[in-house]
């Protein structure tokens, strides 16, 4: 298998590896995610009822209140936040939230992450150098 490595833009530095969770919908951290558990509580959200805890969270971009940045920090403190984030295009609320929470974040990948990533894939997000790498597809073996 040819390892998939996609270049993107550095938003928040740091490096982390984990399981992908894809959200088709934008995320408002204030109101949509329980800061204690990391469970998405917004009804009708594509991730409703799922936990973002410890995941490489892939979502298009943030939305909602600027207080969302602080909620991301609280998630991190409660060890209930995502381990890394991949966005199509980050907006300031999520950018600031990821940086203050030390969650690596890369956006504007050279190819659409929704076409290359699936729930359960193991992915490395290198925020410092601005790329992501598919380490192990779901159900696949490490090369």
């Amino acid at each position: 298998m040819v390892p998939i490595k996609l270049k993107g833009r550095t938003i928040s530095r740091g490096c982390a590896e984990g399981e992908v969770l894809l959200s088709r919908d934008p995320i408002s951290f204030l109101g949509s995610v329980d800061p204690k558990t990391g469970i998405v509580v917004e009804e009708k959200h594509s991730l409703a009822g799922k936990s973002i805890k410890g995941k490489v969270l892939v979502f298009p971009h943030g939305k909602g209140s600027t207080v969302g940045s602080y909620v991301m920090y609280q998630l991190k403190k409660n060890e209930a936040g995502p381990i890394a984030i991949i966005n199509l295009e980050t907006e300031p609320i999520v950018a600031v939230g990821a940086i203050i929470s030390e969650i690596p974040l890369v956006d504007m990948l050279e190819k659409n992450p929704y076409e290359y990533l699936n729930d359960g894939d193991i992915v490395l997000v290198n925020g410092s150098e601005g790329y992501i790498e598919l380490i192990k597809p779901k159900g696949g073996k490490t090369e």
Binding site: T10, I11, V67, Y73, K77, I99, I100
Partner: protein, 401 residues
């Protein structure tokens, strides 16, 4: 984005963890918005102060930071009067958290003057062309539009980062090309005082986040411009507006008239005032001072309340510095039973949440009170608010009127 050698070193953590994160925030925002580099700022005004809005998460983040701000920095209104919080029946639990937030900011060298009108404070002046990092929406609008200074709509963490570094990323409203009017608004009727808040409320909904240029029949006072901008930043997301023949950039730059033209008529403003008749309830609380009262507004409130007694709960908000500067006005207002409250406002204080209908003379408060405080809002000018508060009754002096 270009960084100097010193900035690169900060980004690499050589100046400590707090500054590393601060510059990382500015660089990320600069990259998102296409900034070419960082520019020095003259002052910072930091949002994310009320415990009601930032909660434990915000408190934790600020408490974890270290170091000192590099430029004069003050705060947005807090959730309570920091000296006399018991008077508005703030809970001791809330007060304790609020004080902890203020202490955390103080530790970073930030002045704990909590006001949305920093431009009225001594020694915190901003001038034409100055670059700032302010984050209270009405203060941003005033700085950009009335003063001709330059600031983006900073969030709490980005304003704090800018304060710690003394710099901000050079994008958005810092650049000439992004300050040109995009929509023209003509108002065909004459306007006075609270009419400007009503106009802002109506116009903000139409304008959204664009830059308008107004054509008005009258020349507004600074307090009237303050009210106009505050309301547009609340019902819309207007961070800069121009007024033909009045605002500094409109006078100096001679902008071309935008293609899109909107006319606002008296009847649209009257609809805002008709909220009083439309309301399902009687106002239980009267509030004045959003944004915080200026010296002229305190004087007017004092004149209107002189010799009267309020029969409804009445709060008048101003900055602590102005309250100290005008003790006579404060005394006159308080003798009526109305309360002069500092450091906070009706929108960010949990005290307002106890009421179901609030009367305001501010387009900004009119827009925010329903969502932020869960209360119906009704609109009137300052005279109508005082009339509502006093029930038109005069205090008996010497046993007779």
């Amino acid at each position: 984005m270009y960084l100097t050698k010193e900035e690169e070193q900060i980004l690499n953590g050589e100046a400590g963890e707090t500054l590393r994160k601060a510059i990382e925030i500015l660089v990320a925002l600069g990259d998102i918005y296409g900034a070419d580099g960082l520019i020095p700022i003259k002052s910072a005004q930091i949002a994310g102060v009320s415990y009601k809005t930032i909660g434990d998460a915000g408190l934790e983040w600020i408490s974890d930071l270290e170091g000192q701000v590099k430029v004069p920095s003050i705060l947005n209104p807090a959730g309570m009067d920091l000296e006399d919080w018991e008077r508005l029946r703030i809970s001791p639990e809330f007060a304790e958290k609020q004080k902890a937030i203020i202490q955390a900011y103080k530790k970073l060298g930030i002045s704990c003057e909590c006001t949305c009108t920093p431009y009225n404070l001594e020694g915190f002046s901003a001038g034409y062309g100055d670059h700032l990092a302010w984050s209270e929406s009405s203060a941003i609008s005033y700085a950009n539009s009335v003063i001709g200074a330059r600031t983006n709509r900073e969030g709490g963490p980005s304003a704090l980062s800018a304060a710690l570094l003394g710099k901000t990323a050079n994008y958005g409203l810092h650049l000439d090309e992004n300050r040109v009017p995009e929509v023209s608004i003509s108002v065909e009727c004459s306007l006075k005082e609270s009419d400007y808040g009503a106009l802002g409320y109506v116009a903000g909904k139409i304008i959204g986040s664009r830059i308008p240029i107004f054509h008005l029949k009258d020349t507004p006072e600074k307090d009237e411009l303050k009210a106009l901008g505050a309301a547009m930043a609340a019902s819309g997301a207007v961070a800069l507006y121009h007024v033909e023949g009045v605002s500094p950039e409109a006078c100096r730059m001679g902008f071309e008239e935008p293609e899109e033209k909107i006319i606002i008529e008296r009847s649209q403003l009257d609809e805002v005032y008709e909220s009083r008749e439309r309301a399902g309830k009687e106002p239980e609380l009267i509030t004045i001072g959003c944004p915080h009262c200026s010296a002229a507004e305190l004087k007017k409130a004092a004149e209107l309340l002189k010799g009267k007694t309020v029969s409804k709960e009445t709060w008048i908000f101003t900055s602590r510095e102005l309250a100290k500067r005008y003790p006579d006005h404060i005394r006159t207002i308080e003798e009526s039973g109305a309360k002069v409250v500092c450091d906070t406002c009706m929108v960010v204080s949990p005290a307002t949440n106890r009421y179901s209908c609030v009367m305001v003379n501010s387009g900004k408060a009119f827009a925010y009170v329903p969502g932020m405080c869960g209360a119906e809002s009704v609109y009137g000018n300052m005279e109508a608010c005082i009339e509502e508060a006093t029930g038109g009754k005069r205090k008996k002096v010497g046993g007779s009127y």
